[in-house]
Amino acid sequence: MKIAVCIKRVPDMDVKFKIAAGGSAVDETGLKYDMSDFDGYAAEAALQVNEKGGGGEVTAICLGPDSVGETLRKALSMGIDKAVHLKADAVPFDGYAIAQALAAELKGGNYDLILFGRMSIDSSNQSVGPMVAELLGLPCVTAASRLDVSAKTTGTAQRELEGASETVSFPLPAVVTIDEGVARPRYPSLKGIMAAKKKPLEVKPAQLGAVTVTVTTMELPPERNAGRIIGEGADAVPELVRLLQTEAKVL
């Protein structure tokens, strides 16, 4: 199958963020970057579809500044065949502006399947995938935790709801956004890393849409009170119950 997977480069979340001077962005000093978690699942899902389904071609697309080249190389080293870098000085927060640029690139690409992450781990809008689908007039399934497109012209998926899950069927070509559960991303092998250096990485200007949603300020959430250990073992239970009644007032 001809598959496209849209990946975003995001900071590693295992840090304490600082707000940059100006107050409307995170301070990037010292941050490490990688492919957004769900986009890794999407990339793996794309590779597995073709490994199980008798071949095809997977293209990874990433919109952002020059640094995203590194993230695209990682995708290539996982086994993805081609990469497209849609170059923009900065990635806007507005998912619709991003969706328009991705849709412009995907249109006419004759993809059977276009995969996205369920959400980007930094801006967490959960919107770019379905917006692209609307712009391209394609059927769309969001947050798939299972995906089966082995029938080639139709697919089935499972989605997790609050306390339930649902199954869906859809025709191809289609847009699917990937939740965890579909596939855990593989680590690039040394051979994969070497091969990636020779794979095509095309750079084009991003045709971003007009921005109507902006971040005006960023702030850190109020700190929780420092954790408190009230005791050890079952002996601490009466004190816990007392605190739940008198302090937390939940009992």
């Binding site: 900071p11 963020f17 978690d37 619709y96 959960q126 919107s127 997790e160 609050e162 649902e166 949603v213």
Partner: protein, 328 residues
């Protein structure tokens, strides 16, 4: 007049609580503009009978579209219906719940209306001509204040963030015909598997008791289930270690890749407190942790921590909670 539209959500013939929250959030905006809140309810035949209750939190009118093809989630026809209603009613903005279904619909609606959107917001207000909202980013470690200048504005509101205010009022109900054929959608929901329907939903429970890998085996979840039952108004959650091992369904998972919850009380039993787990529960009002390792990161966020063996502490706690509630 500057009116707002709230999208209500029905499942299995009932209106979900998140619908009232969406109306409440829309009402905040409408109060600022001096306008009204209308609601749109799409569901299987019979759902109209439930619509008037949306008046309790401030909707003056509910538009209802009934069709067999809306019995299960029908994203294409539903998002088309919402976009049509927004255009027909000339609303300044539309508010959806950021539920599993709402998160699926909102971006489709925004794209159909040709505007950007704000997702999963926790506050909402008018500021001059713009709509401003708070949206947690970077796994909840940073709060972004968002300004929406598009018209109409599309927002989805985080479950639990807008507490419904109720007054004894009913909304006028107007049944309208679907625009196209809702049965013609390409994406079709073929089935829903529900766990225990009698169970309190994680998003609605004021108390959550979560079990982690420290419980050692699926059958030991009886321990946290008993504690939840003792509280009376509690739901049981799980970590990914637990859902991965199949001890609990994925739909019970709390964290970055599971549910985001913010209950009054969160009790973590045998949970280490990995950042991906904390991302889903760190905004809980009170956090209790029971873990045998005093270095476990969960203790950094716990208001009340007990260092101890869950198998010893939890049964005692269950007993004490039962006794405390019996004496009330």
């Amino acid at each position: 007049m500057t009116n707002f539209l709230a999208v209500a959500e029905a499942r299995s013939g009932e209106i979900r609580k998140v619908s009232h929250e969406a109306v409440t959030a829309a009402k905040l905006l409408a109060s600022a503009t001096g306008g009204e809140v209308h609601a749109l309810l799409v569901g299987a035949p019979g759902i109209a009978a439930k619509a008037a209750a949306l008046g309790e939190c401030g909707a003056t009118k509910v538009f209802v579209i009934e069709h067999e093809a809306f019995a299960l989630h029908n994203p294409e026809a539903t998002s088309a219906a919402i976009a049509e209603r927004v255009k027909a009613g000339g609303y300044r903005g539309v508010v959806l719940p950021a539920s599993a279904h709402g998160k699926d619909l909102a971006p489709r609606v925004a794209a159909r209306l040709g505007v950007g959107m704000a997702a999963d917001v926790t506050t909402l207000a008018m500021e001059g001509a713009a709509i401003v909202a708070t949206h947690p980013v970077n796994t909840g470690k940073v709060l972004a204040k968002i300004s929406l200048t598009g018209n109409p504005a599309v927002v989805s509101v985080r479950p639990g963030a807008f507490t419904p205010v109720s007054a004894a009022a009913t909304a006028a109900v107007e049944t309208v015909a679907p625009a196209g054929d809702p049965a013609a959608s390409r994406v079709k929901t073929t089935g829903v598997t529900t766990g225990n329907t009698a169970k309190l939903d994680l998003g609605e429970a004021p108390i959550i008791v979560t079990g982690g890998r420290g419980l050692k085996a699926a059958e030991n979840f009886k321990l946290v289930e008993d504690l939840a039952e003792a509280f009376g108004n509690a739901a049981v959650g799980a970590t990914r270690a637990v859902t991965d091992d199949g001890w609990r369904p994925h739909s019970d998972q709390i964290g970055q890749t599971g549910r985001l919850v913010s209950p009054d009380l969160y009790v973590a039993v045998g949970v280490s407190g990995a950042i991906q787990h904390l991302a889903g529960m760190r905004t809980s009002k009170t956090i209790v942790a029971i873990n045998k390792d005093k270095e476990a990161p969960i203790f950094k966020v716990a208001d009340y921590g007990i260092v101890g063996d869950a198998f010893e502490v939890v049964p005692k706690l269950t007993e004490a909670v039962r006794a405390a509630r019996a004496n009330r």
